[in-house]
């Protein structure tokens, strides 16, 4: 008769970072989305190789709004990191404060994004260059809107409840996903705004 046992009742009921299931799920999601971004960028480069002049027949996209958004996104890392740290301390007030600041940044980003679309200097149906530029920017916009909606719901939840320890993990993983959206924007910015000027 076996009598030795592995007693796990002393283990905690929550873990942050790579200890948590949600972190791994988010990593998978980032891998999926990252692959999709890489493929549209490859398609951009492929289409560029099909024509003699790039961008074909149109002025490059205006730099002002895109660069503004690059700055907004990079700056949003600060409240994002503070919200993440607050969640890992189970600090309700800190989470509330920094999530609201994050939301303001995300909202500003989305508004500026609307202006970005107006200064691309090409329509999606003008030619293949226009199609790929609109698609890349559109894909990134979907991510920013999605994460804005995510953050909004989590923030409301942190004011209304009910919350328990798992919701702090949600905040932490939401912050990690926001980093993905920020980091993805750097190469995408370079492709949309710098590539037409360099080549």
């Amino acid at each position: 008769v076996k009598t030795a046992a592995l007693d796990v009742s002393g283990l905690p009921e929550v873990g942050f970072g790579h200890r948590s299931l949600l972190w791994w799920g988010t990593i998978c999601l980032m891998a999926i989305e990252g692959t999709a971004f890489a493929l549209v960028v490859m398609s951009y480069i492929y289409l560029k190789g099909r024509v003699a002049h790039w961008p074909p027949g149109f002025a490059p996209p205006g730099l002002f709004w895109g660069t503004t958004n690059l700055i907004i996104l990079l700056a949003s890392s600060v409240p994002n990191q503070l919200a993440k740290k607050a969640s890992e301390r189970f600090d309700v007030r800190g989470v509330q404060l920094w999530m609201v600041v994050c939301l303001i940044f995300a909202l500003a980003f989305n508004i500026v994004r609307a202006f970005e679309f107006t200064t691309l200097n090409v329509r999606w149906d003008s030619n293949a260059y226009g199609s790929i530029v609109w698609t890349i920017l559109g894909m990134h916009t979907v991510h920013v809107i999605t994460d804005f909606a995510d953050s909004l719901v989590l923030t409301i939840l942190f004011f209304t409840g009910p919350i328990d320890e798992h919701r702090f993990v949600d905040i932490s993983e939401n912050a990690m996903y926001w980093y993905f959206v920020v980091l993805a924007w750097i190469p995408i910015y370079a492709v949309i705004y710098l590539a037409p000027r360099i080549f």
């Binding site: 076996k2 009598t3 030795a4 046992a5 592995l6 007693d7 796990v8 009742s9 002393g10 283990l11 905690p12 009921e13 929550v14 942050f16 790579h18 200890r19 299931l21 791994w24 799920g25 998978c28 999601l29 891998a31 999926i32 692959t35 999709a36 493929l39 398609s43 492929y46 289409l47 099909r50 074909p56 890992e88 301390r89 189970f90 309700v92 007030r93 509330q96 999606w124 149906d125 003008s126 030619n127 293949a128 260059y129 226009g130 199609s131 790929i132 609109w134 698609t135 909606a149 719901v153 939840l157 942190f158 004011f159 209304t160 409840g161 009910p162 919350i163 328990d164 320890e165 919701r167």
Partner: protein, 661 residues
């Protein structure tokens, strides 16, 4: 992070939680905690991995039967020259729907479904990771299939081949909504596969029972981990390309329009960047299952465990570097062709390592048992190797150019896919049927179906090699009598009838054995893995107490009996989360139970997908109900008001540890 988040598992001795009295009480509580949802509403809200996995498998076999009927119709049409049984337009829809179903609605989801069922059992977990996401994946898969076949019966089935090349599928030539139906079916099935792959990756990495370090994971689980990773990196390519195709057709973008700077070859690159890994996504699960079957019926571990895993991983990596061999006929630069020929031939190496390991395993069998699953496994060697050899031929550019778009290619990929995936699948279903149903399938009917399938398959597809070499193109609805192809085509059609008969017998066996099969018990075949350590079918909570492992073949080594897990709550759906590399216990985690919201979300997503075929604003308006459904899905039921947590924390009498419990 803080001391409240760490704890250590204790090794106890003389633990009274292992006495039979205590375990009986524990089982009663667990049965209540993990009980299946009841009634129609409960059926819709079910999230148990065994129920969902079973549904996945059954649904996939329904689509398999539909596509099989389509194949039979094609064989009737081609059985003699200048036949008028089917017209060209219907024939186009039939071969496209057949291929699309087999690739997207059968071959991938059926293995994922088996994995949803078996993987948590083999890693000793009480649940799959993200059970509600898996339920959502099932509904998306179901609705995708219904969407395709509804269109097929409305005469708007896709008709431009399963890889839907523009310009034929593009805005200019693609008729009506047919190519859009194809493109959106892809979105349905890829959302489903990506969600399932994520759940499988997280289950394998984080829910393995203590002791199951990476080098003790069963080979089927390893293969599903590798396949899931491939899905994550391959399927975005077809989602991107099919989205671009819909955009071209709906809002006049020009991705594939040569006249406006686009390029139809961009489609082929994106599609085959997915499409070749897809072959391995279909084939690697079969390799994992074959290892389990061969090991069980030879009574010994598979030779070369580490080399088996490294081969799986190598195949996955090389599989991403060979897509251009589908495009040799498009006039690519010669250097590119040579590179991809070399890569395609290189992939033979890891596959051969596995085949030699299996041969060595059978050769040195402790006790060889030629059961039905083992017959299917052994026929893999014969059929798949023929398919593999014609694959090596096709990897050579001159030969590929000669037989491109002929029946030689049709013969090749049916040998690879049926030999490499369907034969192992039918063996695997026979192998795991007792685990799913509690009864064994009849060996007599099983062997009869097997031999008929083996003969019928070779009769159907071997002649196609010769037809292809004789120049018969694929995807033509008929051919003139003067070509002299009638005899071999008739032979192939007769073979198809034998295959149909065999699959019918297989089905009868499945149905009849549900009632009259011999009772299986926990481990009828004597498997080495943890799925044999629980009842057949397993209880909703899978294990009590949860076993741990001390070797790769835990059920064959009774002399190593590691202590089982105690201390998981029976009052809630608690699972043990472990660490990635060595599966040390890390924390306890409460899994969510049944929920109606995955179904509601899947319905909302389906509405948006279908709407967006007709109107681009469908994406915008259709997203609103999806968002609402997802918020309701996520919105927690348990917890306390934030103000109370904040006040308690400010008063300083609450550590995270206390808040956590």
């Amino acid at each position: 992070v803080s001391e409240g988040l760490t704890g250590v598992p204790l090794l106890t001795d003389q633990d009274e939680r292992l006495t039979s009295d205590f375990l009986e009480g524990e089982e009663r509580k667990l049965r209540d905690t993990w009980k299946y949802a009841e009634g129609f509403f409960g059926w819709c809200a079910e999230t148990d991995h065994k129920r969902i996995g079973r549904r996945f498998v059954i649904t996939a076999f329904v689509w398999f039967a539909m596509a099989g009927v389509l194949a039979a119709l094609m064989r009737i049409q081609l059985s003699r020259p200048e036949n008028t049984f089917l017209g060209p337009d219907l024939y186009n829809q039939i071969f496209t729907t057949h291929g699309t179903t087999m690739m997207f609605l059968f071959a991938v989801p059926v293995w994922l479904g088996l994995a949803i069922y078996i993987v948590p059992l083999q890693v000793g977990a009480r649940s799959i990771c993200f059970p509600r996401l898996v339920a959502y994946a099932y509904w998306m898969f179901l609705f995708g299939g219904i969407f395709l076949y509804t269109n097929f019966f409305l005469n708007t089935g896709p008709d431009v081949g399963w890889f839907s090349y523009p310009p034929l599928a593009g805005a200019e030539y693609g008729i009506g909504k047919r190519p859009d139906v194809w493109a959106q079916l892809i979105t349905f099935s890829e959302v489903s596969s990506l969600a399932t792959a994520t759940a499988i990756v997280c289950t394998v990495l984080k829910l393995r029972t203590p002791g199951m370090s990476l080098n003790r994971i069963p080979l089927f689980v390893w293969s599903m981990l590798v396949v899931s990773a491939m899905i994550i990196f391959a399927m975005p390519a077809v989602m991107v390309s099919s989205t671009c195709l819909i955009l071209d057709r709906l809002v006049s973008t020009h991705f594939f329009n040569q006249a406006e700077g686009g390029d139809p070859l961009l489609w082929q690159h994106l599609f085959w960047f997915f499409g070749h890994p897809e072959v391995y996504i279909i084939f690697l699960p079969a390799l994992g299952a074959l290892s389990e079957i061969i090991s069980t019926f030879t009574g010994r571990p598979v030779v070369g465990y580490v080399s088996m895993i490294l081969s799986l991983i190598a195949t996955a990596f090389i599989g991403f570097g060979v897509w251009v061999h589908h495009m040799f006929a498009t006039g690519l630069p010669q250097l590119g062709q040579s590179f991809f020929t070399a890569a395609s031939i290189m992939i033979v190496a890891p596959t051969s390592v596995q085949i030699f390991n299996w041969i060595a395993t059978v050769w040195t069998a402790r006790r060889l048992r030629l059961t039905t699953p083992m017959l299917y496994a052994l026929s893999f060697f014969f059929i798949f190797i023929i398919g593999g050899l014609t694959g090596v031929m096709l990897a050579a550019v001159p030969l590929d150019r000669q037989v491109h778009d002929t029946f030689f290619v049709v013969a090749h990929f049916h040998y690879v896919l049926i030999g490499g995936s369907v034969f192992p699948l039918l063996g695997t279903v026979t192998f795991w049927y007792p685990k799913l149903t509690g009864r064994l399938m009849s060996e007599g009917l099983g062997k009869l179906a097997y031999w008929l399938l083996f003969v019928g398959f070779n009769l159907t597809f071997f002649p196609m090699h010769l037809l292809g070499l004789a120049g018969m193109p694929r995807r033509v609805y008929t051919y003139p009598a003067s070509m002299g192809w009638g005899g071999l085509n008739m032979l192939a059609s007769l073979g198809a009838a034998v295959m149909a008969l065999s699959l019918l017998i297989y089905l009868v066996n499945v149905v009849v054995s549900l009632r009259s099969g011999a009772l299986a018990g926990n481990n009828p075949w004597g498997v080495a893995t943890l799925d044999g350590a629980t009842a057949s079918p397993p209880p909703a909570y899978n294990f009590v107490p949860s076993p741990t492992v001390g070797s790769r073949e835990p059920l064959w080594h009774s002399e190593i009996s590691p202590p089982p897990v105690v201390g998981l709550s029976a009052a809630k759906r608690e699972v043990l989360v472990t660490r990635v590399l060595d599966a040390e216990p890390d924390h306890r985690y409460e899994m969510p139970g049944p929920s109606i919201w995955p179904l509601v979300s899947a319905i909302a997503t389906s509405v948006m997908f279908v709407w967006s075929i007709f109107n681009p604003w469908g994406v915008v308006w259709g997203s609103i109900p999806i968002t609402a459904a997802l918020v309701l899905w996520f919105w927690p039921k348990r917890g306390v008001p934030p103000a109370r947590l904040a006040a308690d924390a400010a008063a300083g009498h609450l550590t995270p540890r206390e808040m956590v419990s």
